[in-house]
């Protein structure tokens, strides 16, 4: 009598890493301008203007961003010119 093959042991799916965690700095700013490809020019409260895209979780929930919105931005520690919008106030 043949044995049913035990399936390839599927490793438990790791909790997807939160977009928020590592190697980022969170700050706030104001959206100045909508740019192509759903990127935005954001004036950080600390001064500099950076280019930021909209985080995946926000896209999923169709949260719209308009110039003038206050937003929370995560900035990569590797490239301080770019960021990700993770929250609209």
């Amino acid at each position: 009598m043949a044995r049913r093959r035990s399936g390839p042991a599927r490793p438990p799916r790791e909790n997807r890493q939160e977009e928020t965690t590592q190697d980022t700095i969170r700050t706030e700013g104001v959206v100045l301008e909508a740019r192509p490809n759903t990127t935005f020019l954001v004036q950080l409260d600390a001064g500099p203007e950076i280019l930021a895209h909209v985080g995946g979780k926000m896209r999923r929930h169709y949260i719209r961003i308009l110039p003038g919105d206050r937003v929370v931005v995560e900035i990569s520690t590797y490239d301080p010119e770019k960021g990700r919008i993770v929250y609209r106030k």
């Binding site: 009598m1 043949a2 044995r3 093959r5």
Partner: protein, 266 residues
């Protein structure tokens, strides 16, 4: 993996002898028009008469002594009152417990006249079993057995069923390791003397998934291509593989068996 002592192998050989004798009784009853339920009765009587116990009956709820798998059924078909027809193929899979040890074997038979291509399916599947047995040498790896089977089957243009595998056997019908009929030579655990394997290629005529019917057992090819199944219980020894279920008595080696090719029933 559970290794058996020589004395245990002797007992397993006895269990296998009973099992083989019962299969022979079934073979003698094979003909066009007989139902698989009748064959099941023959098998059960033959096993009980020799002091054995049907190993499948009640195993995870399996209802019968034999697995009778007709045509596109790969394995684990239930015996039924449906008579076998001219041109069918039927796999008879039989297991016995005797003095605490299990025996397991299977053969596929042509009923009446079958097309040449069907006959070739049976021949290739049996040949792949013996290729696997010949690779089951002490010191070889499990993958060598798998690859030897796969080479023969795929070399002949048939499909190795992936969903089911052979297994270790001993005090339990199914023990580790799993023995797939596909794989790479030189991989897997090393085979050591005292290990006993049920090697059982399951082969479909064409590439297909294998599904399980609503009864929870009957495994059939999704594309309904015919499937064959041959199985032996084989002990790994210093002197080479010992085919415990082989009917040709003393001194059989896998090689000799492979050369004579084995006989097709019906």
């Amino acid at each position: 993996m559970i290794l058996k002592r020589r004395a245990e192998l002797e007992v397993m050989a006895e269990a296998c002898a009973i099992n083989s004798a019962a299969l022979e009784a079934v073979e003698a009853a094979l003909r066009v028009g007989v139902s698989t339920a009748e064959l099941d009765k023959v098998a059960e009587d033959a096993i009980l008469a020799r002091g054995g116990k049907p190993a499948y009956k009640g195993y995870n709820g399996f209802p019968a002594t034999l697995c009778t798998s007709v045509n596109e059924v790969v394995v684990h078909g239930f015996p039924s009152d449906e008579p076998l027809k001219d041109g069918d193929i039927v796999s008879i899979d039989i297991g016995t417990f005797y003095r605490g040890y299990a025996a397991d074997m299977a053969r596929t038979y042509a009923i009446g006249t079958v097309p040449v291509e069907t006959r070739r399916l049976l021949e290739v599947t049996e040949r792949s079993l013996y290729a696997g047995i010949a690779a089951a040498q002490a010191g070889a790896r499990l993958g060598d057995v798998s690859a030897a089977i796969q080479d023969v089957v795929e070399g002949a243009g048939f499909w190795v069923v992936r969903e089911f595998v052979g297994h270790g056997i001993g005090r339990d019908l199914h023990e580790p390791p799993e023995v797939p009929n596909f794989g790479r030579a030189g991989t897997g655990p090393v085979l050591r003397p005292g290990l006993v394997l049920a090697i059982e290629p399951m082969v479909a005529q064409s590439r297909s998934r294998v599904l399980i019917a609503d009864d929870g057992w009957t495994a059939y090819t999704e594309n309904r291509s015919l499937a064959a199944h041959f199985e032996h219980t084989v002990a790994i020894t210093e002197d080479g593989p010992w085919v415990l279920t082989e009917r040709r008595a003393a001194g059989n080696s896998a090689k000799a068996a492979a050369e004579t090719g084995g006989v097709h029933g019906a």
